[in-house]
């Protein structure tokens, strides 16, 4: 079954090009432009991985991550936090319970690589348990 990636970013072009990259890499990909929409999509589609930008209108990405990690149904979905604010990124990721983080601006290949390895680790874990 095709794995599903949700990406939440208010930079429309970056979101569009990234989703295209994910699709080329063989994933089913869908995006949201803010945290609220992201949460709705996560609940509707139960993605296999979520990429969250930190600075979003209304609700910050790390806040979204915190809500997801408290949700019984969704808390096992791995989250990758992305931001151009490299100074606070690691701390935000740690405190929100995100699984990994990547500083903007990254190469699309880097993000796809990280998605692949995260999903692989998750798969191993699932297979073990």
């Amino acid at each position: 079954m095709t794995q599903k990636i949700l990406m939440v970013d208010d930079e429309a072009d970056l979101l569009k090009i990234s989703l295209l990259r994910f699709k080329i890499a063989g994933y089913e990909a869908f995006g949201a432009a803010d945290g609220r929409e992201g949460l709705d999509l996560a609940r509707q589609k139960t993605p296999d991985l979520i990429v969250l930008d930190v600075f979003l209108p209304g609700m910050n990405g790390d806040e979204v991550a915190r809500i997801l990690k408290k949700d019984e149904k969704l808390k096992r979905i791995p989250i990758i936090l992305i931001s151009a604010d490299v100074e606070t990124l690691e701390k935000r990721a740690r405190e929100s319970g995100a699984d990994d983080y990547l500083a903007k601006a990254f190469e699309a290949g880097e993000l796809v690589g990280m998605i692949k390895s995260t999903l692989a680790k998750r798969g191993q874990k699932a297979a073990l348990s």
């Binding site: 090009i17 990259r21 080329i24 151009a84 490299v86 903007k104 190469e107 699309a108």
Partner: protein
């Protein structure tokens, strides 16, 4: 003497006998008292005659001198007759002592008077300090005054000497203090000052007496000082504050502004009444200037920090759209969204190449900023330097091939593991290798990795144009673009080698270049094997 039965009844005789016996007892006691009194008087007389204090006996009512002892006569050198029968205020040399009527009346009232602040003058004109104690006694029905006069000249002299010593010690202390010190009266007129202050005013310390600040300072300033002093003397509270001061350079040149810390304290008399003001101050101009300088440096640092944050923000903002452009180009070029003809591919490839260059430039600027502000962080891990070198060789192979160059690798086997920041060392090697490739028209670029004692020596050798000797020292300086170094030709930031040097230095390593024009250049890099805790 008892007569027998001379006609009186025996009871009467008995009574009379008893009475006589009683009278005899009284007589004996009276005689005893008389004798005692006589003895006491004798004793007193002897004391009076031999006393080592002068004694005067006066009639308390009239003030007439009735007796004077030999010691006083000897002490003052006047004869017995010059005293006796005279009223005390009639005697010249005593007139100032107790010789005035008021004092005498006080003595009559209070029965006791004591002075020691009125010296006497002897017949030979010598002043002697005396302690004068007078008591009023009742003798029989008459009141007498006994004046004891003790010579205290020696004691007074010693006291005075001691006080002088104390004062001179105090004076020495005041003079030796580095502070400026002055004393003023209630009207802000100078009483005294130390030499340090006097030299400030360009006068001698003794010349200050009777002068005021109006004599030394501009009127406005003198008025301000007077106000300040008036306030301190009014409230009675000591004040310590920083204020501006005017140092007199010379009267023609005018004043030089300075900063002082001044303490103004009220001076009180023994009754607690404020009678003047004590001032003490010292120059804090240098300290003030240092504070100002410190503030200036801090402001500069803050401004610089703002600049750094701004640059960092701009760089990040620039990189975001860059990433999108790069990705879009890549997706199209890969043919993911439809086929691309060779001409389109060529044009898009050009765009891609320049996007990569722009990305590198932005990264360099970011790195340089980090170095400038000491914000570059290193992720130290145990790594294999040989593996790192091979990775760089592999990533550069395409570029070398495109330029028709032979990219060679001389790698010593069995290199030890070393602790360094993998990405940063790759950055340095990539920079050196891409410089070499871009600077070489034909021939080869060779990467060498060798262990030498406790270091690993890496070098990147090319067969390019070479760098003139005088330009080699400029290589590692910011914004110095040297002819023959690709930054010039390829339009770099001139920061690549500067950043490389900083990374190597932070790893406690060394980086340098050797070159010969026409033959090529070699860039050397040495990294210590031994693990170092913490980077500089």
């Amino acid at each position: 003497m008892v007569r027998k039965n001379n006609g009186y009844p025996p009871q009467t005789i008995k009574l009379l006998q008893k009475r006589i016996s009683e009278l005899e007892t009284v007589d004996i006691e009276r005689k005893k008292i008389e004798h005692d009194l006589e003895a006491s008087e004798t004793r007193y007389r002897r004391l009076f005659e031999t006393a080592k204090d002068g004694i005067l006996i006066l009639d308390a009512k009239t003030g007439m001198i009735v007796d004077v002892n030999p010691f006083l006569i000897e002490m003052l050198g006047y004869s017995h007759e010059q005293f006796l029968g005279k009223k005390i205020w009639e005697i010249g040399f005593l007139r100032d002592v107790i010789g005035n009527r008021d004092n005498f009346l006080q003595l009559q009232r209070e029965k006791y008077v004591r002075y020691e602040n009125r010296p006497l003058e002897t017949a030979s004109g010598r002043k002697i300090d005396v302690e004068f104690v007078s008591n009023v006694y009742q003798v029989d029905s008459q009141k007498v005054i006994q004046c004891n006069i003790r010579d205290i000249t020696d004691r007074k002299r010693m006291e005075k000497e001691l006080a002088q010593t104390k004062e001179s010690q105090f004076r020495t202390l005041i003079e030796s203090l580095p502070q400026k010190i002055f004393l003023k009266d209630r009207n802000s007129v100078y009483i005294s000052c130390n030499a340090n202050y006097a030299s400030d005013l360009k006068i001698k310390p003794e010349e200050i007496v009777g002068k005021s600040d109006y004599d030394f300072f501009p009127t406005q300033l003198a008025e301000k000082y007077k106000e300040d002093e008036k306030r301190v003397m009014g409230t009675g509270k000591t004040e310590s504050r920083e204020e501006e001061y005017h140092i007199i350079r010379d009267y023609l040149a005018g004043f030089e502004k300075a900063f002082i810390n001044i303490v103004r304290a009220p001076v009180r008399d023994s009754a607690g009444k404020i009678k003047g003001l004590f001032g003490l101050f010292w120059d804090i101009t240098e300290q003030k200037m240092m504070e100002t300088e410190k503030n200036r440096v801090e402001a500069l640092a803050a401004a610089s920090e703002t600049k750094s944050r701004f640059a960092s923000m701009v760089s990040h903002e620039l990189r975001s759209p860059l990433a999108v452009i790069k990705e879009a180009l890549a997706i199209v070029l890969e043919g993911m969204v439809g086929s691309v003809n060779p001409e389109q591919k060529d044009i898009l490839g050009m765009a891609q190449k320049n996007i990569d260059r722009l990305g590198r430039l932005i990264n360099n600027v970011l790195d340089f900023q980090k170095i400038e502000f000491g914000k570059m962080r290193f992720d130290l891990q145990e790594n294999d330097l040989g593996e790192v070198a091979m990775e760089v060789r592999d990533s550069m192979a395409v570029l070398a091939k495109r330029r028709g160059l032979d990219l060679k690798m001389e790698l010593e086997e069995g290199l030890p593991k070393m602790t360094f920041d993998r990405d940063r060392v790759i950055q340095v090697l990539t920079n050196l290798t891409s410089n070499a490739i871009n600077n070489t028209e034909k021939g080869s670029v060779t990467l060498t990795v060798r262990k030498k004692n406790d270091v690993v020596h890496l070098s990147v050798r090319d067969t390019g144009a070479g760098i003139p000797a005088e330009d080699i020292p400029k290589l590692f300086q910011p914004f110095e673009q040297v002819v023959g170094v690709p930054t010039k030709k390829k339009g770099g930031t001139g920061l690549g080698l500067v950043i490389s040097k900083e990374i190597v230095l932070a790893h406690h390593g060394k980086i340098w270049a050797e070159s010969e024009v026409g033959k090529g250049s070699t860039f050397h890099l040495v990294l210590p094997i031994q693990e170092r805790r913490g980077l500089s």
